[in-house]
Each structure stands twice: as C-alpha cells, then as structure tokens.
Amino acid sequence: MPGKQLLMTFPVTATSHLLDDYRARGGYETLARVLAEWAPQDVTKEVTAAGILGHGGAAFSAGRKWGVVKLDDGQSHFLCANADEGEPGTFKDRWILEHAPHLLIEGMLIAAFALQVRNAFVYIRGEFDLPYRRLAAAVEEAYEAGLLGERVLGTDFSCDLVVYRGAGSYVCGEASGLLSSLEGKRGYPRNRPPRLTVKGLYQLPTVVNNVETLSNVSVILRLGAAEFKKVGTPKSPGTQLVSISGHVNRPGVYELEFGYPVKQFIYDDCGGILGGKAIKCIVPGGISTKVLTGPEIEKVTYDHASFDAAGSSLGSGGMIVIAEGTCMVRLLQVLLRFYHHESCGQCTPCREGMGWMHRIIDRIVEGRGRPEDIDQLYMISKWNDGTTICGMGDAAGYATVGILNKYRDEFEYYIREGKSRLGGNLEVGAHA
C-alpha cells in the first residue's frame, strides 16, 4: 500500500457507491457537524490551513481560491466541480464518480456552505456514461434524503446541485472554458483577470474545483487541518489519486501518500514494466507535463517539490509509463494530433501553431522530414508560450520541448534516414 489512504478507504462492492453504504461508513456526519457548529468563513480557514493544493493540474491552494469570494458582497455565488476529466492519461476522478459519488457531494455541500452557494454544479465530460449514471443517481438519493434542496438536514442552508454533461471538448476542462460551456455556449476560455472567483458563471463569483479536491473537503473537516497535514509532505499535504497507464503490468487508479518513492510505486505497487523492460521515460501527470527519463526518476518522490526539482510537475495525476524501445517520434505525433484536434480555434497562435506542428510531425513520420523541422517545432512552441488565452498552447509546447530535449537524436535519425530507429513502435512492451 503506497502510504496512508484518505479516499480509497473502503472495499469496492456492488453497493459501496450507494447512500446507505456511504452513511454506514460515517458519510454525511461531517456535513451535519459543520452545518450545526461551524461558521462558513471558518470552514474556508480550515481548508486553507490544511494546505490542500488543487488536484486538477494547476496545484493552486484550494483554500486561497475560496478566500477570494466575499461572503457579504450581496451577489449569488456558484460552485462547480470540474469532472471534465480529459487530459490524456488521466482517469482518477472517474474512480470517485463511480465508486464514491457521495464523497464528492458531501465535499461540495461543505464547500457550498463555506462559500454561501445556493446553486452548485458538476460539469462532467460528455462521454462518461457509468460515472454520470452513478453520480446522477447519488444526487437523486441525496435529494430524497434531504441532503440537497431546501433546508439541508433541516438547517437554514439550502443548496441545489445539477449534473451538467459536456459534449466532447478537451478545452472545457479549463475552468473558464468550462463555465462558457456551462452557460450553454462554445467552450471558449476567457482572459483573466478578472478571476473566475470574481466574475465567473454569468459574471458572478464562481469557484471551480477538481472532483478530487472537493472530495477531500469532508476528510479535512473530519480530521481537522492539523491531522490532515500529518499525511503527505509539508509542501504537499494529503494524498493523490494517481491513474497510471502505458507499459506497466498493473495499470489503474492508486491513492499515493505524497512523498512516496516513484520507482517503488511503479515496480512494487504496479508490478513493473511489461515484458520486464526498462523504463524509457514517464509522463508524470497528463501529457502536458514534461517527460522524465528512467534515470531522472531514480530518486524522485511523489510530491510537488520533488517533481519540480526534477524539471516537471505532477499535473493531473495521470502517469504514463513508457518502456525502452518506444519510438518517441511516433509518440509525439500522437500528442500533436491530439492538440491540433482539440484546439478551440479562438487564439491564432494555438489554432495555427497546433496545425503547423501536426503537419511537421506527420511529415517527419512519413519520411519527408526536413533538417530544419526540429528547430521549427522549438520555435512554434516558443511562440505559443504565454500568447494564448488558456494554457493549451503552452502545454503542447511544453510536451513537445520536453520530448525534443531528451530524444533529439531519435528525431534527427528519423529525418536523416526517413524511418524510425525503433521500428515506429508504440506498444513495444506487450510483444517483447
């Protein structure tokens, strides 16, 4: 077991996602206690003190985000859980939605109380079927039980919750794009400032938090900030649900206590690499994070400071393990095709740049690469960096530069010889 567990604390059974089971595990007791005994602003203080960082990818302090909302501003406030899980390699929130939907709802109710929110939303990606059905059924259970709607648990606090389904757009996972979509429009991200906590959904203060972040809220309030901080590392308190995939023997979702050694996780907990191969590199947290090579992760532990020091980041918790023998040129082609497909088209550098990069990598893979192509990819990445409304243009560049910096020789070989040095392999481990 990779350290202490805060969320995956129960055996998954045929009924473990239902309200009765959740209550038998002590569910909604924390909500009842908070509504009875706490002042809203003290809840925010406790969450801030717990030091929890956003689990969606940006790792911003959840408490500080909440703290921007002024409770006495006379405006409506909104809360939205970001369940638009779409960063390739990431499927951790799905675990919560399928197996612990009430954990999310309880966390959202506590957050809604802290932020004095009357209407809360879960924005869930359009393709998710079982996660949606589980969550929607849990919401109905909660309404039936008086946990949602008018006068929650007989108190003065009322809160409605709508599960809102996306329709297939990666960019809607970005908080402002998500709110545009929730307004029933194209999922175009918006320029900041103003922050969404100042002008969000329909120009009213809105907090958007990741599903896992919100699912930690009842845990924090139950344990108290001081106990919560004992889990993990001083700069990364708590745990992370890591979804691991790729050339690994036991892919899946694991809860890691921050500070857990990465190699131990891959080899002991996930059973090592397919076919007993060596690790070529890992994508640490969704494809927008920079790859780290096998030697680079030798001493890395699973926490923000350690990954920052290694030159990457934890991102969305979606780790992809890539075995020795994988062709990085073809891998980058897959990534750039994805970014090109998902660019929303609003900003010129991203709209044009993604297409341009995609054409270059396609050309290389077809054996028609030009010597200047590598520099061109660097240049487009640089032009995109910081010149677009949302971070997608930047992210595509980071992913590209991350791979080019470490595997330039493979690209040079491919361009020179017109073919892959590694046979164009992507699924190497399985057949070795």
Partner: protein
C-alpha cells in the same frame, strides 16, 4: 422536439432562474438521443423555447464533437487512438475494425448498421485499448472481444 418540452421543464426547475442559456447543451443532447441527430426544425424549436440566439445553437452544434446534424449508423463504434490506447494496441485494433466493417473512420456501412469513428482519449487509459459503442465503454478490448462485440450489434 416539442414532445420533449415537459422533460425540459423539469430540467429547468433544477437550474437557477435566468439560466435558459445553460439549457442549450442538455436540450440538444436529449433531442439527439431522441432523433439521432439535430434537424433544422429542432434548432427552430429551441430558439423559440429557450429564447436564445439562433447563432448560439449553431455555434454549439459546430463546436462539440458529440453533436451531429445528420443521421449515422445504428451502432456508433468509437475507438480511442490517444497515447495510452496506442501504446496498448489501438492502432491495430482500428485497422481491424476498419477491415471488418469495410469502412474507414468517419464512414458508415452501406447497410446503415455501423458508423466507425476514432476519438482522442475517453479517460479509460488504465484499461486500454477502449472502444465505445453507442453510450457504453468496452475496455481492455482484445481481437476476440472486439469480434464478439460487433457480432452482438444487431
């Protein structure tokens, strides 16, 4: 779409007042579930019912990959080809699908039974490769499993 209005009214009741614009996505989705695609008359009906600009609905329809303006096959087979699935055999699986159905991704079989699409990351990387048939995810899809799935699509 008019017969769906009672359903839309129940949906509206859960939203705050003044959120008609937000109903565009759920209404479009529901109409598509009902009809299989969005027809011109559906756009007319939604403009009238929600009071939103026609352009907003047109923009939504042309932006989101899940919405469509024309009918497709009875079984929509969507194979993921993003990184984790490609690393676990998606490319060969898509070739197999194409060969078995006799169509390229983006095409529908002449009998209208299947439409084949490729998609980018369904959030199922740990159980790659994944194929979605209509609403349902099928994970860890082997050749044998794929054949059995297609046989089951009558």
């Amino acid at each position: 779409m008019r017969h769906l209005i009672p359903e839309f009214e129940r949906l509206k009741a859960r939203f705050p007042k003044g959120f008609e614009s937000s109903l565009v996505l759920p209404c479009v989705r529901r109409i598509q579930e009902d009809r299989g695609f969005i027809a011109d008359s559906d756009i007319d009906g939604l403009v009238e019912y929600l009071g939103v600009p026609r352009m907003q609905i047109e923009q939504v329809l042309s932006y989101y990959t899940m919405f469509r303006r024309a009918p497709i096959g009875r079984w929509h087979v969507q194979a993921c080809r993003n990184i984790a699935c490609s690393m676990r055999g998606a490319e060969k699986l898509i070739d197999r699908l194409s060969h078995k159905l006799g169509v390229q991704p983006g095409e529908t079989t002449p009998d209208g039974r299947f439409t084949l699409s490729t998609v980018e990351c369904l959030g199922s990387c740990g159980t790659a490769p994944v194929v979605m048939i209509n609403e349902t995810y099928h994970e860890n899809v082997s050749d044998e499993k794929l054949d059995a799935l297609l046989d089951g699509c009558k």
